[in-house]
């Protein structure tokens, strides 16, 4: 199955290589200029500490854009297949993308989690992970995937190496948001229709608790120390603050009523959270301890996916309607740049550059 899938993507690789060649040719010329510019212009992500690439899933054209945030260019475009949404970087540096066949009537051959080798841009594996795997989380050791199956109302537990689904767990109705706690012990799966969050104990791979949050939860994130979690509630226009030890809601952060919060990420220190507001074309900056909205930073149109640079200095949003990503300086809380990507960017993941970079 994997071979056939890869064979069908031959054209994609050609295109990706072309894009990569073009990017490499220009890279030498632009690198110094970019570095100099980065030193001159505040808000330009150019430091060695934050050297990384962005991987952006483009839902409407079936591609992943690889973005250099220093040069602010797309250095590669990878065809991945129908409906890429959730995107994450595994501990070994490979990039995982969930594909959902939105024209399906049941589990489709297009419903996959694909694995991208970042060095070559090739898809090296394509795993079944149940129907409509929109979002997923990766265990700390990179061995296990927890995928929300939106249509089926299940969470699939999958061995990443073999692609074998080892368990399918009943969670709420229309699950989407998935997050793994920093210690790897818990997986939260938010379900949009039932407004619930189900808690998976990764030691047993069983659902051990479920609790209500506000209406239509979309995104989930744990604080860096694992003590808290935030759940964005799209219809309520709120964030639910969760005590991640008791698995209980302990507070609510009110956002503008029609803000439609989706993607959420904590700052490295956990003091702030950044929340993509699809209805506001902005990012909410939230004081976690104060449980309050600090500011809304304008970005592109209908941001959903969010990610932070490794040092937390820059925030990136995938803007689904303006077909670009925004770069936000988290010190000045201003948008400092945009990069055009594919059609309908949905998710964004940050991959620190290593030897292949």
């Amino acid at each position: 199955m994997t071979d056939r899938w890869q064979a069908s993507l031959g054209g994609a690789r050609t295109r990706a290589r072309r894009a990569a060649r073009g990017a490499r040719a220009g890279a030498a010329v632009t690198a110094m200029a970019a570095l100099a510019l980065g030193l001159l212009l505040s808000g330009t992500p150019a430091s060695a500490q934050t050297a990384h690439h962005l991987y952006v899933s483009n839902e409407h054209d079936g591609t992943v854009s690889v973005v250099d945030p220093v040069d602010r260019v797309v250095v590669r475009t990878i065809d991945v297949g129908h409906g890429p949404r959730g995107i994450h970087v595994a501990p070994d540096g490979r990039v995982l993308v969930a594909l959902s066949d939105t024209m399906r009537r049941s589990e489709s051959d297009r419903d996959r989690i694909v694995v991208i080798d970042p060095a070559s841009g090739d898809i090296v594996a394509a795993h079944r992970a149940g129907t409509d795997p929109e979002q997923f989380g990766i265990s700390r050791d990179g061995v296990t995937i927890y995928a929300a199956n939106e249509d089926a109302g299940t969470a699939s537990v999958m061995d990443l190496e073999s692609g074998e689904v080892t368990a399918r767990l009943m969670v709420g109705i229309e699950p989407e948001g998935v997050a793994v706690s920093p210690d790897g012990r818990w997986v939260y799966v938010a379900a949009e229709t039932s407004s619930t969050v189900s808690v998976i104990d990764t030691r047993s791979d069983e659902v051990v608790a479920t609790f209500l949050v506000d209406v239509r939860p979309r995104g989930v994130a744990f604080s860096p120390d694992g003590s808290l979690a935030l759940v964005s509630n799209e219809i309520s226009g709120t964030l639910s603050l969760i005590d991640a030890e008791r698995h209980a809601v302990v507070g609510t952060v009110e956002l503008p009523r029609l803000a439609k919060p989706v993607g959420v990420v904590f700052s490295p220190g956990g003091r702030r959270a950044y929340v993509a507001l699809g209805g506001e074309d902005g990012v909410a900056v939230v004081d976690v301890a104060g449980r309050s909205l600090v500011e809304i930073v304008p970005v592109g149109e209908r941001p959903w996916g969010v990610a932070l640079s490794p040092d937390g200095r820059y925030l990136y949003t995938a803007n689904g309607r303006s077909d670009d990503i925004s770069i936000v300086d988290t010190r000045s809380l201003t948008e400092v740049g945009r990069v055009a990507v594919g059609a309908g960017p949905w998710g964004v993941a940050v991959r620190p550059l290593t030897n292949d970079g």
Binding site: T102, E150, T166, A167, T193, L212, V215, R216, I235
Partner: protein, 355 residues
């Protein structure tokens, strides 16, 4: 160790068809939501069944004692006894969509027993404007009654609004029947603006592209047309105008896909083998809203606050928080006008909300 498994069946999640005498008492075995006529013989029934199944699943995951009980339609003479029994046995509320007189009787009985009732009729016979406009009759029961549908006249207005938006160059003729509600006539004229002529005025009207007829509002009886603006396309030749073909206003359509609508449509299609329509959506929404309000209500508190409190809002897969603050306890929500390969959204209540 083979870890492959499927935890697909939740214990106790199956639907039980309970006779009233089998109702579970609050505190002992749980709290009950009563659903009338939840069977597959109607779109309402199918929507209610999906709502029940999803509600039972949520309750099981949350380890809530919430249960659902199905009832056959009572006669008018039986509604008071049914409401009394349900109240005594700890029911949180009732979902129904009965013919007018029985529905009204059940609403009155439920309210008098302190129960909430979710009216799932797609077009409940309620006034469009409330008492201050004084043009149409009041809701048949106050407080405790919530409606997931909208007044029948709202469909006509939505259709009109969508057509005006889609065809801004059309010239319209307004035909006002004797006794038509003044507020409705005012609304229609406001929407049409300068494009509106008046068929009741003296003199030649000139060529028109479409005609809207405003009927007389019904102030009594169960078949309330509420002064429905019947939107008609006027043929170029003389003769009676023809109804608009290919357009319809609805609460829901099986082809909707934004805001998670595709997922709901798919769940319904998978369960019943057909597309979800407005009646099914209204029933599903009624059960869902009452279920959520009940699950969020602390023990001992009234579920009404969960339906209409300041933070009460519901997700109907329409992309906006839905609240029961429309006239007559109706659910404020987008309506859809479907036709000619496109779907337009029209907000209910619209501009008349502040009237």
């Amino acid at each position: 160790m083979d870890r492959r498994r499927f935890l697909g069946t939740l214990g106790g999640a199956g639907i039980a068809c309970l006779a009233p005498s089998a109702l579970l008492a609050r505190g002992a075995d749980g709290v009950v939501i009563a659903v009338v006529d939840a069977d597959q013989g109607s779109a309402y029934g199918r929507g209610a069944i999906l709502g029940i199944e999803e509600g039972e699943r949520a309750a099981a995951l949350l380890r809530s004692p919430l249960r659902f009980a199905r009832y056959q339609s009572p006669g008018v003479a039986d509604t008071a006894a049914l409401a009394r029994r349900l109240a005594g046995e700890g029911a949180a509320g009732i979902v129904s969509a009965l013919p007018g007189r029985i529905q009204r009787s059940l609403e009155g009985a439920a309210v008098s027993e302190g129960l909430v009732l979710l009216d799932a009729r797609p077009a409940p016979p309620v006034g469009m404007y409330g008492a201050d406009r004084g043009q149409e009759r009041e809701p048949p029961a106050a407080g405790g009654v919530f409606r997931t549908g909208v007044p029948s006249a709202a469909y006509g207005l939505a259709l009109l609004e969508a057509l005006v938006s889609a065809h801004p160059a059309w010239r319209w003729e307004v035909v006002v029947e004797e006794g038509a509600p003044e507020a409705r006539v005012r609304d229609v004229r406001q929407r049409l603006g300068e494009a509106a002529g008046d068929a009741n005025a003296a003199g030649p009207q000139g060529q028109v592209d479409a005609r809207v007829r405003i009927g007389r509002g019904t102030r009594a009886g169960d078949q309330d047309d509420g002064g429905i603006p019947t939107v008609l396309i006027d043929p170029a030749t003389p003769g009676p105008p023809q109804p608009v073909e290919g357009f319809r206003a609805t609460l829901w359509d099986a082809a909707l896909f934004r805001y998670g609508a595709e997922q709901l449509n798919e769940r319904y299609r998978r369960r019943f083998g057909e597309g979800m329509d407005g009646a099914a959506w209204s029933a599903w929404m009624a059960v869902k809203a009452l279920t959520e309000a009940t699950l969020r209500t602390p023990p001992g508190a009234g579920v009404e606050a969960g339906l209409a409190g300041p933070r009460a809002a519901f997700d109907g897969h329409k992309g906006a928080p839905l609240t029961f603050d429309g006239p007559g306890g109706t659910l404020a929500q987008p309506l859809y006008v479907v036709g000619q390969g496109e779907t337009r959204e029209v907000e209910w209540p619209g501009t008349e909300r502040d009237g």
